[in-house]
Assembly symmetry: D2
Homo-oligomer: 416 residues x 4
């Protein structure tokens, strides 16, 4: 089945993965629906209404918006067309909580999402409850669901999982702009890396790239196609903060020769001296995390680096970034450590359509295809990605300057 | 006594007035302090924490910021230097809630005030209570207060009253950016104009302009000086929405010949077709007010017009705007209707220092003088100005493009 | 006679003076026409076609444009309506060389004037000759000229003299942007100041401000009106480079307390450390002049300072800038040194209409009135102003950030 | 041999090709040098000094700059290090005419190249003659030239040929901004397309991509590597103006569903309604060409389209753009019509390093590698590309919004 993921205007999100298709199949759609929806509420729970209303930059969205938008998605694409007698909660919400679906009608301007103090957080909670009840009723007799309706539910759940990750990355960005650096969860700690030694060696070979089979995937993962990959060697371990501190101390941010031309322009314009969310206090590097401001741990994987920085670091190290095809083949081999669940990993591949790719018709076809320009592919998943949402063919993508996601890198070598 | 008012970075506010000096004298400083502080809380009461955190443009500030900043003012300028043993509520707040007092130390960037979700509204309420208690104690024995300390209290109260007006104008702007146009107070109605007929005729004469005597005033109201004023005739009534609708319907916004060059550039760049907060719905003009979206009342004074619009309207009408000196003399005569409490009235006077003006030394000297450029003077006061805060010598000022205050106009004629 | 001066889009020019009305009357219109036109050609003579095509910023114009635009002015306003049988040189030029006269039709975008390599300089010379011949013929029988036609000629000559000054200021700006700092005329030297000591004391008195009598003046110099001026004392001498070096060395550009808020923002954004066209070379201040790069002469009047800088300097010196009315009365007294012919002198007066001012109808009415906002008045004239073009009532005006004209200052004191 | 090409700051140019290595070998380096240098002068000959000084946008450069910069290249990289006793023509020119070689020292700001009226065109001609004489002397005894010195000459000639193409594209852009649309050469006509029917079918196969052998190539054409290409069918003919008019008339520029998200944003922001340099006059489409303004020829290949437009057109046509690898294999087959000498052809490939690519050390290593982001690859060559400068492995690249080069497209189909 081909499915489609919502991507956001300027800089699409890492929001995509699947809600563990096996789980869906094991527990049924209604149980999966309840589980995913409850997880969103759990993620928002530590945040006050004040926290939930703020938008710290055009690329980020308020928590309240994420909560309402994911709800609107079910209302717009599932309930309105497929739930007879369904009554809209409030018709004005379609305007406020549409993201970028041109075909679904006009939208509130993206950079002004932070101005919507009303409807308030309690109203959005009521909106969620209203829609949840209607979906629950629709899914009561799962066996009789039309396959295309079940497919929409599955997409909606994947869509919501993407926004679950964004809830975390976006509030972290907002908190990082606050001089007092609040903690989302004071107990939160960054997951350490495995620091697996060595590299996975891929000899030249023809491999199938992209998604096959009947599990869920996004449209940008297909068509599956054959490609020649290798020879290349890909590090099993991720680049760490310790590695990055050496880069900083060696003057990496000052040496134009290490950088792409656009990258060095970004360094100068943005004043980058370290990864995103880092601050120097008392002569030592700290980082704003979901657990608040903490000293940088040299053993943890580096995070919040842009593609420009990842590329410069690879050049500094005399290495390369892997292509997305190389990454996919290596990950599929099972020998690649920390492929999932730590940091998204920049590849050297621009985000382009696979041969013969064609976006689907209709509003849901606006998901991925129209963002296939000016962005780079990331593979794997991060600590903020919901469990079960990752797979080897998954393609995440961001502009080369983006730093507010949980983004890191691993290195590769080409045998000569 | 010379006193000084805080003005804000880009576009100083109409925040200035005096807290009814006679009231201060009658009831005493402590009673006045309690009254003004309570009024701020009353103004914020209809707003949720979500409402209070949002900043809809760099020129506006969040309600929570206004509440905290006015409190910081007493802490910084009154308690720290003059209350022995006072303990700061939280030293980080000085950074967050300083507005533009360079001499008082570094500040949080003005356009990012809307990102401060924490400290939350409850913490700011506690901050207010903490400072209120300390000031209350300081003022217990009013008779023994040093005059310069009493002067700081008086400035602080005037300062807070300015921010009371801004609380209303800024939240109105935020709500006007919300497609659903929430109401601050559903019962709120615009005050009708007196529609007084005729004009006040001022023959040529030498008058003293500026503040004299021992009541409170801001530094920009002095030095008092003599000026030749008149002959001129100033309308007793304000320009109304009905007048403005005629201007719109006559193509006023399309006729470059009516506009200052910079004004017409603003019309084109901003897409102005009507006063601020106006929206056309169902073929009829409505306006977002503190009471929500209501039809434009043709009998009410026009409001939310920029200087550019006021100037173009005067040209369209074959009339002129009065100068601030003409306005002051006319208002002093007592024959001028709606001088106070309806809308601030644009004058044709640029905001300049009076002859021999010199700003005071120290942080409180940063109030008015440094904004004497690129702004126009408004006289009178608006419906949002706290009672007792207005006087005939009061000088409000905004850039010629500002529209989010309660700003209107009256017209004048020069006899030929 | 009321007349009107062309002002330029964003930042009107110091283009102002009259073409010596007495000379016009003495020698006749045709002789004056020939003389003024020849002077423009003489000014352009040291410049190559390459020099003449370049536009160094939107506020400046190419020499070739000035030469063609002044010619277009006579063609558009004099020959087309008043010279029977006149044939346009090339109708496409009206589009290219209209400046900002909305009523005269559409115009080429101001910031793109530097892209017009063709028509080339030789064609523009031919255009000038074509128009000169037709005007010359029209003026052959001067006695029979209708007064309104003679008035247009007079305006056109004043207009061209304004552009003569701009030819010099604009090419100086272009050369100042060139790392090799070419000289317009290697022999050129800045005129030294008289360094007259003392001050002109003006006691309080009622004076008539603005132009009276039958000589030529611009519309913004009227209506003449009575005003109360003084008491004030105005320095007879101008502020010098030596004075300014002391300001620089005392940290004047770093001390926010000396500056208007907008002024300090300009200092920081533009990186101002000294007046315009100054460069530090080999540890010493130099300045790009029409004679090339030369060391700063401490005895010469300071030049190329913005209003912001003039205002900050006055505050630094514990002094004030005079108002335009004070300047006018002092200049009329004949005791004021260096009033004309050295540098334009910033006043503390915003550029506003005189009481009862009304712009004339028609395209020529677009001259001055529509620029009466966001600008400050300068009085006097500069070394680049054509002889005979200055008078005591003349009002020049520029935005407070402008530095590329020959702008300086003198100081005043208010007796206390 | 690995060689490196100069690319320009924001949007590198189509300037690259080789100066016909076979010709170099046949005639010798000195003859090739004389020939290439003479061709540059011939291209500049129809342009006046005024034409040559202008810079119409930051991405374009003045003709005079191209003439001087290519000369500086030989002085900087060939004569200074390898010609004993060579005397610089004028040391200030290194600052003015360095393009973006950070390692070669500071440079004049790119967007201000149009302000350099002096040195004048004649001086630049003298500069060229000075350098030509020195190079000529150096090449007199070609047999004894060190291979690395010969390599620098060869790079310099290729570099100059790139700028030859830019001389034409940049002056065309400048002329297109001129309302009177001057002609570079009134006799110039666009080369018609072959309109070859049918498609080249490529079955799946492993091919070597990139440059092999000992002829000249740029560093970005290697390392040569194996890739799986096909199955795909690539049209032998180019898309024509007639095809494009159908796209326009079908509302192609208004249909968001056809466009990449960034592409439609460009359409709206730039107001694109047709390819670059097109103007509607008298209800019919015309285009500014090197021969002046002419009616659009429906049989000619479409030109001056951005990648965004090419991509939207392909989607509109239900087709795809070929990848650069597909293009290279098809071109190598010899069956591809109009591969060279008409228009550069957008591919769907982002400009990325080939596997294992590593930029060379030193200033000449700044050529291509640092631009491998945010750009798309074009293949082939255009009518403005110097003869002999093209080859099948050549990679040109521009940002997806660029339209001022001679850029068109051909379409492909994936068999299903």
């Amino acid at each position: 089945m081909t499915a489609l993921t919502p991507r956001r205007g300027v800089s699409p999100a890492s929001d995509t993965p699947r809600s563990d298709t096996s789980a869906v199949r094991a527990t049924g759609l209604r149980a999966a629906f309840r589980s995913v929806r409850a997880h969103t509420d759990a993620l928002a729970a530590p945040l006050s209404p004040e926290d939930q209303v703020v938008q710290s930059m055009p690329d980020a969205s308020p928590t309240k918006w994420h909560r309402a938008h994911t709800t609107w998605f079910f209302e717009q694409f599932l309930l309105e067309p497929h739930a007879p007698g369904y009554r809209l909660f409030d018709e004005r919400l379609a305007y406020l909580y549409n993201s970028y679906y041109v075909a679904a009608g006009p939208r509130h301007a993206r950079p002004k999402r932070g101005l919507i103090t009303r409807p308030d957080a309690a109203t959005v909670a009521a909106y969620r409850a209203h829609v949840d009840a209607a979906v629950d009723a629709l899914l009561a007799d799962e066996a009789s669901l039309a396959p295309e309706v079940a497919a929409i539910v599955e997409i909606g759940l994947n869509h919501e999982q993407q926004h679950q990750e964004l809830i975390l990355t976006d509030i972290l960005h907002a908190f990082s702009e606050n001089p007092i650096a609040p903690a989302y969860d004071p107990e939160w700690r960054f997951r350490p890396a495995s620091r697996a030694p060595g590299a996975v060696a891929l000899p030249e070979g023809i491999h199938t790239i992209g998604h096959q089979g009947d599990g869920f995937s996004y449209d940008n993962e297909g068509p599956a196609h054959r490609a020649l990959v290798g020879p290349v060697e890909i590090d099993r371990g991720l680049v760490t903060n310790g590695d990055w501190l050496a880069f900083i101390n060696d003057g990496g941010y000052d040496d134009a020769a290490l950088w792409l031309s656009d990258g060095f322009a970004a360094v100068q314009q943005e004043g980058w001296r370290a990864p995103g969310h880092w601050r120097q206090e008392d002569g030592r590097w700290h980082v704003v995390t979901l657990g608040g401001l903490v000293p940088v741990d040299p053993d943890a994987p580096v995070c919040h680096v842009s593609y420009y920085e990842a590329d410069a670091f690879a050049r500094y190290a005399g290495r390369h970034l892997p292509s997305e095809q190389e990454w996919e083949v290596a990950a599929r081999s099972g020998e690649l450590a920390d492929a999932f669940g730590v940091v998204w990993q920049w590849t050297r591949s621009a985000y382009s359509p696979y041969p013969g790719f064609r976006a689907a018709e209709g509003a849901l076809g606006e998901y991925n295809g129209k963002f296939m320009i000016n962005q780079m592919v990331l593979r794997g998943s991060s600590l903020a990605t919901p469990p079960g949402h990752a797979r080897t063919t998954y393609r995440n993508f961001f502009p080369p300057s983006a730093r507010w996601q949980f983004t890191g890198l691993r290195l590769a070598t080409f045998p000569t």
